[in-house]
């Protein structure tokens, strides 16, 4: 299961003349790097490009969340107890003032959903980054050093992959809510990122370890060692660049999984805490009341979450196909 870059081969797809000229002009300098080839393949994948557009749009909504608040004139935390709730105190359905309706406290659902995208994307990216960096470093060490270090780390990864992480999140939360664990792990975002990062890196670690075990035997590593390179240099200068392709593919697919993980924790009440706007938490509150009428409160945050994970997953599949058209990078 080696990822041999030279084996990726040339693109057989027809190239439009103008692009060809541009590429030809630079050919002598950059050759045909696998990155260029992958990007070219990705650009031809229509579904992936549409999803990339959707992702850009979601990111724009998250960054521009205050713009939604400005246009509607409704703040993120503002409760409209007279206009946003029925006389009986129930949420109001979509209308010209509240485009997507209001929530149980009379807040504008559209504005809350836009703000919720911030949490989802933030956790999706940060927890994935923690996972990927941690998994890469530990996987590199386990694969490179081998022996006892590898045995211990590999066993530890097996254990982590077997942990029912939602239950552990519940356990951590139930203790932290009474008193921060070890004095600093409090409920809310810290627990979310620790749970997702700590229980997530093992899958990356296992992937990296497997790749390192095969790269280790290659001639260029032997050459580096003969030149007197130390373990750090070999691991991070010689090996890491060859791991980038699988890591990029894996990270793209890990982001939606992390977003679902965060939403799930918040749905169960052990994630992001109110009054912060968060999709999982909105769906959780809505789940207790949609049977009595306010379907919009359930449907719109659910749609936001589903569109986000779907876009990332389809895009991730496209990235995988682009880097690995023959399908031999992963089993």
């Amino acid at each position: 299961m080696t990822y041999d870059i030279s084996a990726v081969g040339e693109s057989e797809l027809p190239v439009e003349p103008s692009a060809l000229k541009a590429v030809e002009a630079r050919r002598e300098i950059e050759g045909k790097s696998p990155w260029v080839l992958a990007w070219r393949r990705l650009r031809r994948d229509r579904a992936a490009m549409i999803c990339l557009g959707v992702i850009v749009l979601i990111v724009a909504c998250a960054i521009g969340a205050p713009i939604f608040a400005m246009i509607t004139g409704h703040g993120n935390m503002q409760q409209f107890t007279t206009t946003g709730l029925t006389p009986a105190g129930q949420p109001i359905g979509p209308n010209s003032t509240f485009w997507l309706g209001t929530d149980d406290l009379g807040r504008d659902l559209l504005v809350r959903i836009a703000y919720g995208a911030r949490i989802s994307l933030f956790v999706g990216v940060v927890a994935t980054a923690v996972t990927v960096v941690g998994g890469t470093v530990i996987g590199l060490a386990a694969g490179y050093f081998g022996g006892a270090i590898d045995s211990v780390l590999a066993r530890f990864m097996d254990w982590l992959l077997a942990v029912p992480f939602l239950l552990f999140a519940i356990a951590l939360f139930s203790v932290a809510v009474q008193k921060p664990i070890f004095g600093f792990i409090g409920p809310g975002l810290p627990i979310v990122i620790i749970v997702l990062g700590f229980f997530g890196w093992a899958s990356v670690g296992r992937l990296v370890r497997g790749q390192v075990l095969s790269i280790k035997e290659k001639e260029y590593i032997e050459a580096a060692r003969a030149l007197g390179a130390g373990p750090w240099r070999i691991m991070f200068v010689d090996m890491l660049p060859n791991l980038l392709a699988p890591l990029i593919v894996y990270s793209t697919l890990l982001i939606p999984a992390t977003i679902v993980g965060e939403a799930t924790l918040s749905f169960l009440g052990v994630g992001v805490q109110p009054p912060t706007a968060d999709w999982g938490q909105m769906i959780s509150t809505a789940s207790g009341m949609f049977l009595y009428g306010p379907w919009w409160y359930l449907v719109f945050p659910s749609a936001a979450l589903l569109i986000t994970t779907l876009a990332f997953n389809i895009f991730g599949d496209g990235v995988r196909d682009a880097f690995d058209p023959r399908g031999d990078l992963y089993v």
Binding site: R155, D158, W159, A162, V163, P164, L166, L167, F168, I170, A171, L172, F173, S174, V175, A176, V177, Q178, K179, I181, F182, I185, P256, V260, A263, T264, F267, L268, G269, V270, G280, I283, S284, A286, S287, F290, L291, W295, L298, V299, S302, L305, L306, T309, L310, F312, N313, I314, D317, V331
Partner: protein, 322 residues
């Protein structure tokens, strides 16, 4: 084989030990010694109760003595006392377990049948319309968070149908035990089963399809075909049998994880199984109960891993050497 078994069981025991220590660290070392008793007994604990707990858990001794004592209790099947419900933790767990088991068994049968069947059709008719449909729906349900699917099913199949006079599906929260009335049991669990099955089946569709396509490239498939064997027999006897190994592995691990509580599905459909019980124990600050469920669930996962590995070793002798 005996050596492999012994080594594998010892490894499992080691992982289990690591797990109990983690649980101990979260619940006892995390909050710090002076808070443990209050945390375990809940906010309304009287000083007498707090004292009793401090003695019971050896909290005035060094941590390794206290941990040893905790471990000793676990080995005797003592998961502690549920101060909130005023029963031993094992009693609460025994009540919740049949519900989780009912949910998981039904869903597992559905997702295995559906996932493998769609996988086979996709692999045999690659790039056909059917293949496109099944792989797309697999990607769709794979991206779907379980609670979103469950709630949308309740909205569409229960609420909207019922308000229009078609009351086919039971209200969320309905549960009849199998021994009381098997038909009502199945009827009440249909929506939770479908939810859990659709979300899980996606992985099986992808897994079966991928693995069958790999096997179709093998020489012995060509040999079987050239002998004039019927395509049906090639697919079912030669290909499927080899392709099912990764599917069985995944199945063992999935069932093992869910047995410890299909947390989200139980929460969405208000089924008081192990996962629901754990989530609700947060609100009542019933920490001994959470601790008990975490330990039971982790043991379930480790045992499932063990069974899968042994199954693998029986199928493929090369595994035993590693």
């Amino acid at each position: 084989m005996a050596r492999f078994l012994i080594r594998r069981i010892l490894q499992g025991a080691l992982v289990l030990l690591l797990m109990t220590f983690t649980v101990y660290a979260i619940f006892f070392l995390g909050p710090g010694p002076q808070f443990v008793a209050r945390v375990m007994a809940g906010k309304s604990a009287t000083p007498a109760e707090v004292n009793a707990i401090a003695n019971q858990f050896y909290l005035n001794k060094p941590w390794y003595v206290a941990y040893g004592h905790f471990l000793g209790g676990l080995l005797h099947g003592n998961l502690g006392y549920d101060y909130y419900n005023n029963v031993p933790v094992t009693t609460s767990i025994k009540q919740a377990f049949p519900i989780t088991l009912s949910l998981v068994i039904g869903a597992a049968i559905l997702w295995l049948l559906y996932g493998v069947a769609t996988g086979i059709i996709s692999a045999v008719r690659t790039r056909s319309l059917m293949d496109r449909f099944f792989t797309t729906q697999a990607l769709f349900f794979y991206s779907m968070p379980t609670f979103v699917l469950g709630l949308l099913l309740i909205l569409l199949l229960y609420q909207i149908l019922t308000t229009h006079g078609v009351a086919i599906f039971p209200a969320p929260g309905s549960y009849t035990s199998f021994t009381t009335n098997p038909a009502a049991w199945a009827h009440d669990l249909i929506l939770p089963w479908v939810t859990l099955a659709l979300v899980s089946a996606a992985t099986y569709t992808r897994l079966t399809r991928g693995s069958m396509l790999d096997v179709f490239g093998e020489d012995y498939i060509r040999t079987a075909r050239s002998k004039g064997m019927s395509e049906r027999r090639v697919i079912l006897r030669h290909n499927l049998r080899a392709s099912l190994t990764p599917v069985v592995t995944q199945f063992g691990l999935d069932v093992g994880t869910l047995i410890g509580g299909a947390i989200i599905t139980e929460q969405v459909f208000s089924l008081p199984g192990l996962g629901w019980t754990a989530v609700h124990a947060i609100q009542s600050q019933d920490l001994p109960l959470i601790m008990g469920i975490v330990i039971v669930a982790s043991t379930g996962v480790i045992v499932a891993n063990l069974i899968v590995d042994i199954f693998y070793a029986v199928l493929d002798p090369r595994v035993r050497l590693h």
